[in-house]
Amino acid sequence: MKLRVGDAVLAAAVVALMAVLPSVYSNELLLFNFVMFLTLSQGLNILYGFTGYLPFGYVGFFGAGAYGFAIAVMNYGAGPLPAMLIAAAAAVILALVLMPLLRLSGAYFAIASLAAAQAVYQVISNPALEQVTKGPYGVSLTGVFAPRLSYYVAVGIMAGTFALVVWLRNSRFGLALQAIREDTVSAGMAGVSVVRFRTVAWLLSALVAGLVGGVFAWHISVFYPDTAFDVGISIFATVFTLFGGATTLTGPLLGVAILYGVYNAIGITVPQYFQLIYGTLIVGLVMFLPNGLVSLLTRRGIRVP
């Protein structure tokens, strides 16, 4: 493996920035949301950028993580760190259950994964399961509330995810995944184990979302199924990734910095105007810049981390 320095430097710089910011900027919830989306868009990048599978239902793993955490704390009195493991396990188990979806391709996969996420949401929010999940009434985990600690755990997860993307970009494994994305048959002929590699990327991507979901549950501590399974989370992660440019480290970072920045500036007070703007951005992007902002540089031969 030949590591290009740019990737590692960029990843370390962003992690350091997010780790230092709470001591100079007081709106910790906003910072947490940034960390969350920085991580989620890279998690989605692992799957979409490297295998070409676009999971519209990515939020399903996030929600599974959040509820895995919540159920471990509520029903079994687990501490936050063991509960984080349960959160990760919940997302990975869901990914294993949904593995047959990988047989589908393109549009079929995107839509089926959305349907799967919705199905999980409808099960968890069903009043019939109130004993286990509190149904649609939401969960309260104030007993383990620890905003500072959970923030740093989130930054840690972000660092791990960045490392994963840097590794994918610089390893034979990542290259093999991209070969599968470009041409499955040729990759198979060249000796790449298509199914196994793809599965690993799928599980890693789900693991990231599950961990972020768990730490979200921990940090927020009071939430509803509608919040944890909000399709908007998938949409944001997808749009941020596409806007900046998938398969790169820079792309999703740029996407979050610009679009989520704009969202926080105007989107919270007048969400429909923001929706109009990002709808227009998506259409314009697909029409004129289908490979994201970074393609402005890459197509001139400039290498972007």
């Binding site: 070409g52 676009l54 047959p100 979806l101 047989r103 589908l104 393109g106 549009a107 079929y108 995107a110 839509i111 089926a112 959305l114 349907a115 799967a116 919705q118 199905a119 409808q122 099960v123 069903n126 009043p127 019939a128 399709v231 949409i235 997808t238 596409l242 429909q272 105007y273 929706q275 109009l276 990002y278 709808g279 227009t280 951005l281 998506i282 259409v283 992007l285 697909v286 029409m287 289908p290």
Partner: protein
């Protein structure tokens, strides 16, 4: 109770056929996914709402007007977006993202214009008193909606099988490249199919306030999932298979609501996943896959 559930299932099945039909026509001809389908349907519903509340127009008049206007909007929209998309390496995937963006724009613009409140049209507009059918009392608005859907489906059938343009459309569905090679103006045929697809969504929208109770600018995604379930069950790319998909969907939805109501909203998602995994080619299978 069983007869009632099956009967209302058939009625809703016909309506859901109409909901999915336009999406399937567009996919069948252009191999792109119009993820803004549900939002065009929503626009049709708002058009019917305002046509009724401002001018007292009967939904049938509104449906005719919506069909014309939507087809006229669809043609330039096609030329603006689709030819450019089809040059891309993975047109199907990019189309999902592009039309998703369009869906967001439509939803946002409608929300800005009309707010988020639920809109409905009183059912008595489509006839008063229940209709008796096999000893079951059915709201006459439902029967009316189903009848209009049946007429629209028949119209699409006649278009595809009895007109010259329809024959060309089927040729493009079977093989775009060969159609191009035989000198068919593929873009013209596709543009018309795109317009009809959006127009069908509009007609389905006009009757949405009656069949679904009420509409808000945010119903698009939900409609999309239902439409996808319908057309995937009834074979993607085969417009007439949609009838089978619609009826399977409608009847199982009504059976769920009758016997297992708290889990009924799971149905479209589960049906969609189950069919995709077991028979991704749809219930009608490959032999009749193409029209």
């Amino acid at each position: 109770m069983l007869i009632g559930a099956v009967l209302s299932g058939l009625i809703f099945g016909l309506y859901f056929t109409l909901v999915g039909l336009g999406l399937n026509l567009v996919f069948g001809v252009m191999r792109i996914v119009n993820l803004a389908h549900g939002d065009f349907l929503m626009l049709g519903a708002f058009a019917a709402f305002w046509a009724f509340h401002l001018f007292g127009l009967h939904p049938l008049v509104a449906a005719a007007a919506v069909l014309v206007v939507f087809v006229v909007i669809g043609l330039p929209l096609y030329y603006l977006v689709v030819p450019r998309l089809q040059q891309a390496r993975d047109a199907e995937m990019l189309s999902i993202i592009l039309f998703f963006g369009l869906a967001q724009m439509i939803e946002a613009a409608t929300t800005i214009a009309f707010g988020t409140s639920e809109r409905s049209i009183p059912g008595r507009v489509l006839g008063t008193g229940p209709v008796m059918l096999l000893g079951q009392r059915l709201p006459s608005a439902w029967v009316f909606g189903a009848a209009v859907s049946a007429v629209a489906v028949a119209g699409v059938y006649l278009y595809l099988y009895q007109t010259r343009l329809g024959r060309l459309t089927r040729a493009v569905m079977v093989s775009r490249d060969e159609a191009l090679a035989t000198g068919i103006d593929v873009h013209r045929v596709s543009a018309i199919a795109f317009g009809i697809g959006i127009g069908l969504a509009g007609i389905a929208g006009v009757f949405a306030p009656f069949m679904l109770g009420s509409v808000t600018p945010a119903i698009g995604p939900e409609i999309n999932v239902a439409a996808f379930a319908v057309i995937v069950v009834g074979t993607l790319g085969n417009p007439l298979g949609t009838v089978l998909g619609g009826i399977v969907y409608g009847v199982s939805l009504m059976l769920m609501q009758t016997y297992l109501s708290s889990w009924a909203n799971l149905l479209p998602n589960l049906l969609l996943i189950a069919v995709l995994l077991t028979r991704p080619e749809g219930l009608l299978g490959r032999k009749v896959r193409r029209a």
